[in-house]
Every structure is written in structure tokens, then in C-alpha cells.
Amino acid sequence: MSENTISHLDFKNDQSVKWCPGCGDHAILNSVQKAMAELGCKKEEVAVVSGIGCSSRFPYYMSTYGFHTIHGRGPAIASGLKVANPKLKVWQITGDGDALAIGGNHFIHTIRRNIDLNIILFNNRIYGLTKGQYSPTSQRGFVSKSSPFGTVEYPFRPGELVLGARGYFFARCIDKDLKHQVEVMKAAAKHEGASVIEVLQNCVIFNDQIHSEITDKEHKADRTIYLEHGQPMIFGKNRDKGLILEGLNLKVVTIGENGITEDDILVHDAHCEDMTLQMKLTDMEYPNFPVALGVIRDAEALVYDQCVQLQIEGIQEQSDIKSFDDLVRSGDTWEVE
């Protein structure tokens, strides 16, 4: 199959997709397949590793290599796979429960080590597969089957946690936003090191509309902001709103009011190593701010799997021990005649 004939259909297989009709997962599957086609990936060089959850059924619907593993352990299994076989393009599919509840530790360590994985976090703020308990991203007060009187917990903000764990790539997108999603997936794939993409995903059955305040067509333009590296942070139906800094605080302003011009608006720097501003963008919440979409942080850093390889190669070059036999005969030995 020559690269330029690859289509997203090549990444589909013959299994029937068993997510609920209307579930946001369908769209994400399509975007990933599209991104892979546009990146010109070969099926055999792609491996998709997931944990457990509705979202984690993902590998069964891909014509690539795949591994539907155990709950929360996807990042660890994907890490082992990538280190064992650094040539593979490894995608790690996970949910808000899988990644941030049971899998939280592997998640933050994978980010800390900066292993070259593309992690897609399907954030529907609910445990879907187990039929509707609150998750670590459910808002305080959220009523669910396991919180009939509302939760008394603060949720994680996934991006904040990623950055707190020294993440170098974080992006956010919306399940139904196919085109944008494909772009973001491609950016994540191109980033070397751990990339985390939070997809605001709708669970029609157990948490319907949880993101719609933000993602609904009629509001989206005013309640979200699409960030692009090097571009001013402008949003709004009329593209007349923007973000500026006041001291250490972000502020929403209207272009044309109070003498504000486009030039006053902050320009997005996703590549900036210092994460101060990116953290603030990540944390923006409606109604005070628009929710940031797109690639929020995409900075360079050393990549674990590459460093492991380089270190091994470096040592192998210098060492006299080239084989098992060399090893066992090195050091303190004696002869019996």
C-alpha cells in the first residue's frame, strides 16, 4: 500500500462498533483514523493501547495492532511497548476514570518520564461502562448513582495535573469537532514525548449534555477559544473578544472597546518552556473565561525512550563486554585445572 493511497477507511476493521448510538466516542474514532491516514501511518507500525471503560474498547475497532488491557494500566503497558519497540507509533486511549482514578499514578509518571505516547483522554466526567458513577473530573455537587446527594470532592482539572506532572504537551478538543480534532491529533503525533489530548466527550446515556453549556453550537464561539501557536487569543461569534494579562491575571476584553485593539491581545506561545501562561489558559473555566481548545502547550524536552536507546548505544560502544560470555568471564574468576 503506497502511503498516499492510505485513507481513514484503511484503519477501520470489520468489527461492529458497540458504543451507544450518539456517543461521542464514534467521532473520536473517526478523527483518530483520519489523523493516522493524513499522517501517512502504516497500519503495522501503529499500536493502540487502552485500559478499561467504554472508551477503552477503542482498539477493537482499529485495523492496527491493539491491546485492550486492564483498568488504569494503559500508560504503563504502552510505556513498556514503546521502550521495547521505539519505532512503533503508540496511542494510548483512556477515560477520565481509567486515566485519573485508578490509573492516576501511571498517568503522571508516564508524563514525568516524557515517553513518546499519544494519550487521548476521553473526558465524559463519568464512569460510563459501569453505568454512571461520578469520576475524578465530575464537578463538585454532581449527582450520580454513587453520589445521590452530590459529590463533596473537587475534581481534577486534567490539564493542570498534566502540567503539574511536568507535561510538555497538552491539548483539548471537543468530540463533535471533527476537523479540529484531526489537527490536534496530528500535532500530538508530531510532538516527541508524551502528549495528552483531553477530548470533551459526551456520554449520551449517563451524562448527556455535560459539556453542552460550552460545546453547543449556539454558545461555542463565545464560550470557547481556539488557541493556535503564534496567533492572538481571539474568540467570540464576532471574533471581537480577546485575552489580555493584567498583572498575573487573565482578562477577557472586547476589541474596539476601551481602546483595545488586536495588538493588545496576547499571542499564544505553545512552545514556551515556562508554563505559567499555559497553565492559566488550561485552567480557564466558563463562565468567567472561555474554555481553551487546541494545543495549549507543546514544548520540547528530552524523550525517555530515545534517551534509553541512546544511553544503551553509548555504553555499548565503550564497553568491552559484548556478549554473555564476555560478561561472565569479566571480573573475579579463577581456574580449576
Binding site: 468489527q15 502504516k42 497500519k43 503495522e44 507500525e45 501503529v46 499500536a47 493502540v48 493501547v49 478499561i52 482498539p59 477493537y60 482499529m62 485495523s63 492496527t64 495492532y65 491493539g66 491491546f67 485492550h68 488491557t69 486492564i70 494500566r73 504503563a76 503497558i77 504502552a78 510505556s79 513498556g80 511497548l81 514503546k82 521502550v83 521495547a84 519497540n85 519505532k87 512503533l88 499514578n105 501511571h106 509518571h109 534509553v308 544511553q311 544503551i312 555504553i315 555499548q316 564497553s319 563486554i321 559484548k322 556478549s323 554473555f324 560470555d325 560478561l327 561472565v328 568471564r329 571480573g331 573475579d332 574468576t333 579463577w334 581456574e335 580449576v336 585445572e337
Partner: protein, 615 residues
Amino acid sequence: MGKRSKVIEKDEVVVRFSGDSGDGMQLTGNLFSYTSAIFGNDISTFPDYPSEIRAPQGTISGVSGFQVHFGHNDVYTPGDYCDVLVAMNPAALKANAKWMKPGGVIIIDEDCFDKKHLEKAGYQTDDPIKEEKLGDYNVIKAPISTLTKESLKDMGLDTKSILRSKNMYALGLVYWMFDRPLDHTQEYIKKKFAKSELIVQANLKVLDDGYNYGSILQVVTPSFHISPADVKKGTYRNLSGNTAVAWGFLAAAEKSGLELFLGSYPITPATEILQELSRRKDLGVKVFQAEDEIAGICTAIGASFGGDLAITTTSGPGLALKGEAIGLAVMAELPLVVVNVQRGGPSTGLPTKTEQSDLMQALFGRNGESPCVVMAAGSPVNCFDYAFYAAKVAIEHMTPVILLTDGFIANGTQPWRIPDLNDWPEIKVPRVTKDMKDWHPYMRDLDKLSRYWAAPGIPGFEHPLGGLEKDYDSGDVSHNPENHQKMVNVRQEKVDRVANYIPELEILGDADSDVLVVGWGGTYGHLFTALDELRQEGHKLALAHFNYISPLPKNTYDILKSYKKIVVCELNMGQFANYLRMKFQDLRYLQFNKVQGLPFTVLELKEYFKSLMEE
């Protein structure tokens, strides 16, 4: 150095170096054993240190010991009781007095037997020898600290540094007693302290002076002669069980042509395997120090999916954490070796002590019907063999293998004849091949019932694996009831068929005896020695020692059933005995159990066996 006044001829001797954690006893013991090994004795050693990093100085809980057993014949254990004890302080004497052989030699640094230290060690009087009833022993009171200071007084060293070398004085003295050459130790000192010529000179001098002190003292100091063992020709080195495990995997990687991946989290007493393989970047080993045991095994499962020879290493509590993931490897039918170096349980238990109490956990510590292969190594050096064979079985049968060792053999050392890998069997990797017709992920080899390995990267073999039940005929997810039964059966059958590929059980000793001693894993040395000694004393006795546990060797039942009495000896409350009861219910099993964090003693085994034979 003159003629020796009295030389005691011995077949074998046990020497124990013992002192405060900071006294350098581990090094002293190691150097002595090396010298003995090079001299041509067979040896077996065991270090024994406190679980605290530095327990309070001078107290019993701070005593660090190193025992060497060496002989003119084969030696299988570090020995129960000592012929010679070096006790650098009263606590060391207190901790070890009960392990002395009647009439043995005790060397003490009398400078350290002052009131303060005696009290710290818990002595009531100022005569510990009397308190311990060691009157009939040969106690050599040497003012080692003073002599060391004397020896180095002109070297310009500070007192602390001077006293740090007093272990070399003791070592020199012991070398004299056994008439051993100093050259290996001298070489070592030169290398080790290469950074400071002064320290090198000091240590060399102290070592020498200690040796000479022996000849000065010779009227009162016994000296021993143990002639070299009649060992097989070859190149030898000293090997601990943990290093042997690491090297077994290196050998398996080379023989199979696979890259070696270790995912692990440090835990006593398994950490040294991780540390040794971390050093082996020269051989391309990918070591992933994971955030916990779960990530340790999960990275290994990922690496196995990716086509590497993947292993994970741990001890009891860590194995408990790995149960769920082992189940995934069982279900995904991926090769994986899980090394469990057993220690004293339950819970954190006695982390630095030895035990065999994780057998049931290894066999059954997972949800569902989740069979995997379980093996156990028997001695420090055969940890190499079983690590190699664990990898071979895992790869060739596409199954997780749990390899059990224990703190005793992991830390103990033995001389190891360096093998020629060409003499070792091939490891055939069951890779998919282009010509496979109608391949699907759960297509099986008809003999082994193992599936084929299609690591990502190969075009045409893209497939998803996973923990959900799969269809026998297509590998797709299946909830079909009959299919589930079929898959449950085939996973068990696959493990059972490993029995077709492993050696049969062999009887050691008198095949025609009435009593069969049964053991498994790390008790081999003690059981064999007890057997050997009893046979030399004219008793008839047989030993069946197991290294393959799940599955058992094919001839197990036939062997067991031919004995009148079977006694299963293990360092737990009867786990292997219970396992045999499940497998071969019609036989009767006696049990000899001990759960004290310690190995058996040959003495207690012999006494028990004798009582059995007399019944």
C-alpha cells in the same frame, strides 16, 4: 612463617564473621570466601544483616554477619553451626553464641568488650564467656582495636580511618589460621582503594600484621587444614542467587535472539536483580525502574506484546500487587517471567528473612481460573539455570511463568562453573510466519497448544489482544458460554502440556528407601546435606526435590507412590504438601514445617528424619 604447632585436619569448616553493621563484616566474609574458593574449596556463603540500615551501634539488632562454609567435599549450605566465630563486639557474641559448634574457636576483639558495650548487648556481668557457658570453647581474646592502632600509628591516619581497617586485622588472623594466601585480598585492596595510596598501604599493613599475629600467637591458636575439593575443571566465579537470576535471563536473551526488558520496582530481597540488570546496558538490557510493582509488570507485559523477552522481579507483597496483571498475561497468552524472591510474611512481615510462603499465592493469587507455570530454583547457582528455563518455557509456550526463589538463596553465594552457552538448548521463538493460513491471534500450535507471537510491526498480522474472553476459532471477543469453557480448558491444558517438555523428576539418594523426603525450591542444600550425611552414617533415605511445580514433572505420581512414607519439608505451614494433596490425593503426606524466617538446619532435619526412619 615457621612451622605450626597444632594443625587440625578437617573436611569442612564453617566460619562466621560478625560485628556491628559498620564493621565491614560483609566485605571481610566475601574476601575470605573468595580466597577459599580460589584455593580450591567448595564454598557456600550467607550474609545476614539487620533490616534497619544502621541499627543502633553495639546492639543485637545492629549485628551484621557473614557465614562461609567451605570444604574439601561438595558443600551445599552455608552451614548451621560455626567452627570459628569472629565477634567484633559483645552484641555479635550474644547474637551468635547459640550457633557455635561445641568446642569451636571464638575470636573476640577484647577492646570492645568494655562495660558499655557489654551492657548494650544485654550482658549482666563482665564475663560474657561465662554467661554464655562458653568455658569449653577456644576463646581467643585479641585486642584487635589496639593492635590495629599500633600497626598504623606511624601512618598519619585519623583514628576513625584506622579503626575502619580493623576488619582487615581480623581477616589476616583468620587467613593465618587456615593457611591461606593473601594475594587475592591484597589485589582487591589495591583496586578498591585505588584513590588513596595511604588507605591501600594501611589496609595491606593491617592485613599482614593480623596474619603475623597468628604466627606469634600460634601456641594458643589452632590452625586448620582443609585440602582443596575435587572440583570439575573449568573457570569459576562466585555467584549469588540474585545475580544468577539476572544472568540466566541474559543467557536466555542471547540464545533466543530477543532483547531483554525488565520492568521492576525495588523490594528486599529482590532488588539486586534489578540492580544487576541496570548495569547490563552493555548487553542492551532495557531496564525500566517503574513507579510501583503494577507498573513493573505492566511495562513488562507491554514489552512482551512488543516482542521482547520481558521479565519483572519482586518479593511477596509485590507479587500480591501483580496478581491482576498476571491474569492479563494469562489471558493474552504472552510470554512473561515473574521472579518472586520470597521473604517472611504475611504483610511486611520479616522483610529481610527467608521463607517459602508464597507458593499458594503464586499458584492461585489471581481472579478466575488463571493457570500459569510455576517454577522454583534450589540454590544460588541454579538460579541461573531456572531463570534460563523459565524464560525458555515462557517464550516457547507463550505463557507467564512465575519463578520462585527466596531470600536465602538470593543472598547466598556459591562457586559457579562458567558455562559455555553453546552447550545450552536453543530457545525457539514461536513467531508468526508469512505462510500461516487463516491465522488469527488465538491460532494454536497443535502440540503445545500455545498461540503464535505477532509483535507489532509485522504487516498483515495486525490484531487486537485483550483481557476479555476470546473466541477459540477467531480470537474475537466472545461471551459464548461453551466457548468460555473451551478456553478455560485449553489454557489449563496448555500449562499442563509443559510437562511434556521438562525433565522428569529424579530421586536422589536411595531410591529403594522407605522414606521419601520431598522438598522444593531453596531448601535443596539443607535437605541434600541432611540426606547425604545420614546416608554416610549408614541410613537409607531418598529425596525428591522439585523445581517444576506447575505443572509437576510427568513421573511425579509414579515416584511418590512407591514410598511408604512421604514427608514434605518446607519453610511454610504446608503449602506444597497441600498442593500435592490436590494433585495426588490418594497418597499420604507427612509434613515438616518451619516458619521462623530462617532456613532449616541440617541438624534438625537429620534428627527428624532419623525419628521417622526409626518409627
